[in-house]
């Protein structure tokens, strides 16, 4: 019995490793993805290209401009001379924001009245626009409070004043709020999904397509040995991918790894139950490799988008949030981020582990049931 299994495994590994394109997909694509996600995917908003249209040209207005520039968020690339110029710059995408200080700014402040400062933001990228607005409001708010404190100091005769409330904020798990810490470990979940689901289903279907399935049927090999022979190599490759991503993440990108790697590997095993199960399921409903690929794709694409990988689940409508409970990626991503960034253990992560287990325990046996060693 083990002889047959061993032969099957050796055959599978040889077939996989022999094909240079397979090798590229297995080893090259994860690396490419990690680098793209590590460098390209960046929602941190810094160096916002800004123009300043200062109609007042007073000490106060220049002070406000200086505070904007020194904040590190805004990069003042132009001092505009008119609204026309601002419009042109934004239309062409050369600036993302503009600050317009009206004539009489300082005079109004001195006169204890309220002046308005206009902040014009290019709203085409809504997410960036929102962040830019909050930065502008924060800096302006700080400056405004400063002026008020000066007034108060002058009024009460003491020097200086204090702001009544200050917010001391700390970001846990990701002190500098770098988006790559969020995305790069998540790449692991994607890679494993693609490799184990898509490739395993295509591998089974290829046997059907080129006719070698019939040859296998006439051998004494049992159904379960065939299944194990087809799934185990891809499980191993999945683990190799996890190791690769971990090494690159920690040593190249300096992403913290605060939790227990063994827990991650255990969770990966549970995750593989689901993905390999789906792969097997897809192979039972596909007659050609192309169909297998399409079906896998139709599943992986929405699964990846709705997993909380890039778009938070909390932002989704409630009904859709419930559907994500059926998505193994959701649990796996939570565990990955928990292990890398939060450093938590099974005590906190047990619901996700349980979720993975339940999904896998339903899908894998179901797929095996459906699997018939037929050529059709």
């Amino acid at each position: 019995m083990f002889e047959r299994l061993k032969t099957m495994l050796v055959k599978e590994f040889t077939q996989i490793m022999r094909d240079p394109k397979m090798r590229f997909v297995i080893f090259g694509v994860p690396v490419v993805q990690i680098f793209i996600f590590g460098y390209a995917v960046n929602t941190d908003v810094k160096h916002i290209r800004t123009a300043v249209y200062d109609q007042d040209n007073s000490v106060s207005s220049r002070e406000l401009t200086a505070q904007l520039a020194q904040s590190g968020y805004f990069e003042i690339v132009r001092h505009a001379e008119g609204e026309e110029e601002i419009r042109r710059l934004i239309d062409h995408g050369e600036i993302k924001a503009a600050v317009q200080i009206h004539h009489g700014f300082e005079a109004t402040i001195r006169g204890m009245r309220t002046a308005t400062v206009q902040v014009i933001i290019d709203g085409t990228d809504a997410n960036t626009a929102r962040i830019v607005l909050s930065y502008a409001a924060k800096i302006a708010g700080r400056f405004s409070t400063q002026i008020l404190m000066d007034h108060q100091a002058r009024g009460s005769g003491t020097t200086g004043g204090v702001e009544p409330v200050s917010l001391a904020s700390r970001a846990w798990f990701n002190e500098n709020l770098e988006s790559r810490n969020f995305y790069v470990p998540g790449v692991m979940a994607q890679m494993v999904l693609i490799v184990t689901m898509m490739l395993s289903s295509m591998s089974v279907v290829r046997e059907k397509e080129i006719g070698t399935m019939e040859q296998i049927i006439v051998t004494p090999i049992r159904r379960w040995e065939f299944i194990v022979g087809k799934t185990v190599p891809f499980a191993v490759i999945g683990y190799i991918n996890v190791a690769m991503v971990t090494v690159l993440a920690v040593f190249w990108f300096a992403i913290p790894l605060r939790g227990n790697l063994l827990l991650l590997f255990f969770a990966t095993g549970l995750y593989l139950l689901s993905t390999l199960g789906f792969g097997l399921l897809i192979s039972t409903v596909s007659r050609t490799q192309q169909q297998a690929m399409m079906s896998s794709f139709m599943f992986t694409f929405p699964a990846m988008l709705l997993s909380g990988f890039a778009f938070p689940i909390a932002n989704m409508p409630l009904a859709i949030q419930y559907t994500t409970y059926l998505n193994p990626l959701r649990y796996y991503l939570f565990i990955i981020r928990g292990v890398f960034l939060k450093g938590v253990g099974a005590g906190i992560l047990w619901p996700e582990l349980l979720g993975l287990f339940i999904l896998g325990a339903i899908i894998f046996p179901f797929a095996v049931q459906r699997f018939r060693k037929t050529a059709a």
């Binding site: 062409h92 709203g123 924060k138 001391a168 846990w172 909390a314």
Partner: protein, 377 residues
């Protein structure tokens, strides 16, 4: 090139496509799925952030301060506690994204004219949400601080005081800052690239793999005729998806369209041809269906999604990647789409992008024809 020959190939390809329900399904259902997901489910907008509070002061002042948070649409109170342990656990378990701790001497500090330090602890693992959440929190805090200062000033000077200045935000093109107004136009670029490139990438490779290519070579068909005929049904699917996306954008998501409609159609068709040619080239160069499909995904889907500015801004990318994005047709189309939809600009601003698409498309198609001829001979 003879028209009848092209028509004959086109008819054959149509039959192939219709007989393959899965590809057809993908060509039609996937765009609808993407539109639905990006229009409704996938957004980076942050609302109702779960908030955990620890009020060590428990005075009217601190309660008033807290009500500014709980009453805001940006926060939703997840619970209150009196231990750090519970705060840690709630953040670990994702029950809360932000925790606010108000010190015991909150009210006393303010009355004495000193600064009360409020602690904010945010779950940093999702940096985007964290940044936005902190922004909201700072906004509320500075607003409260200003109010206190104004009250103090009013008391000491005996008159009412107004804040020195306020910020008047003007958000152009997308006043409500809805993610969907930014994403839905860009999504059109992604959908068309995915469909056109992914589906087309398999056509030529399939003929080689099943052996029917040699039969085609034996016919009097020339290379260009065969390739053009092959593209016809996929072109039709692409047009269908394009119209579907445009209609969905207009009627379902109500994304404003401020530009020139004929221009939109013309450039979209141009882009479709570019995407189809790319898929064709990949199909010719890849020796098997498997290789072609994988390569198509890396060369078209991934860049269209990640490097086109569709979701992740190109300005945030490092220099090298920004240079690379110049070689990606989806980048130009996303810029054009956003320009047409939201900014309402025309060719005078977008001519550079349109020119690139034309040149790129022509070059790719020419290379595809050359590579194909070489293989036949």
């Amino acid at each position: 090139m003879k028209y009848q020959r092209i028509a004959a190939v086109a008819k054959k390809e149509f039959l192939h496509v219709i007989r393959d329900p899965r590809s057809l399904l993908m060509g039609l259902a996937l765009p609808m799925l993407l539109l639905f997901m990006f229009g409704y489910a996938l957004t980076l907008d942050v609302d109702r952030v779960p908030l955990m509070v620890w009020d060590q002061s428990n005075t009217p002042a601190s309660r008033e301060f807290l009500s500014l948070f709980t009453g805001s649409r940006y926060f939703s109170l997840a619970g209150s506690t009196d231990t750090y342990r519970e705060i840690e656990r709630s953040i670990d378990e994702r029950r809360a994204t932000l925790a606010i701790v108000i010190p015991a001497d909150f009210a006393r500090s303010i009355d004495a004219g000193k600064t009360a330090q409020v602690q904010a602890i945010v779950d940093g693992s999702d940096s985007n949400t964290a940044t936005i959440t902190l922004g909201y929190a700072e906004f509320i805090v500075s607003g409260y601080g200003e109010k206190i200062l104004l009250e103090n000033l009013a008391r000491s000077s005996g008159t009412t005081v107004t804040p020195p200045f306020t910020v008047e935000p003007r958000v152009w093109f997308n006043a409500d800052m809805l993610s969907r107004n930014a994403i839905v136009p860009g999504l059109i670029a992604v959908i068309m690239m995915v469909i056109a490139a992914l589906l087309t990438s398999l056509t030529v490779a399939r003929e080689w793999e099943t052996g029917t290519m040699e039969q085609l070579i034996a016919t009097p068909l020339t290379g260009p005729e065969l390739l053009t005929g092959k593209l016809v049904p996929y072109f039709c699917i692409g047009i269908f998806d394009l119209v579907l996306s445009l209609l969905a954008g207009r009627f379902i998501f109500q994304v404003p369209f401020r530009g020139d409609r004929p221009l939109l159609l013309a450039i979209s068709i141009l882009y479709l041809v570019v995407a189809l040619s790319l898929g064709l080239l990949i199909s010719i160069v890849g020796k098997s269906q498997f290789a072609s499909s994988q390569f198509a995904m890396i060369a078209t889907l991934l860049p269209a999604f990640l490097l086109s500015g569709f979701v992740f801004p190109i300005e945030n990318m490092p220099f090298v990647l920004r240079i690379i994005t110049h070689a990606i047709p989806a980048r130009y189309f996303v810029t054009i789409l956003r320009g047409l939809y939201l900014k309402g600009v025309g060719l005078s601003v977008l001519w550079g992008e349109a020119l690139f698409l034309m040149v790129f498309g022509g070059a790719v198609f020419a290379i595809a024809i050359r590579k194909f001829s070489k293989k036949i001979v």
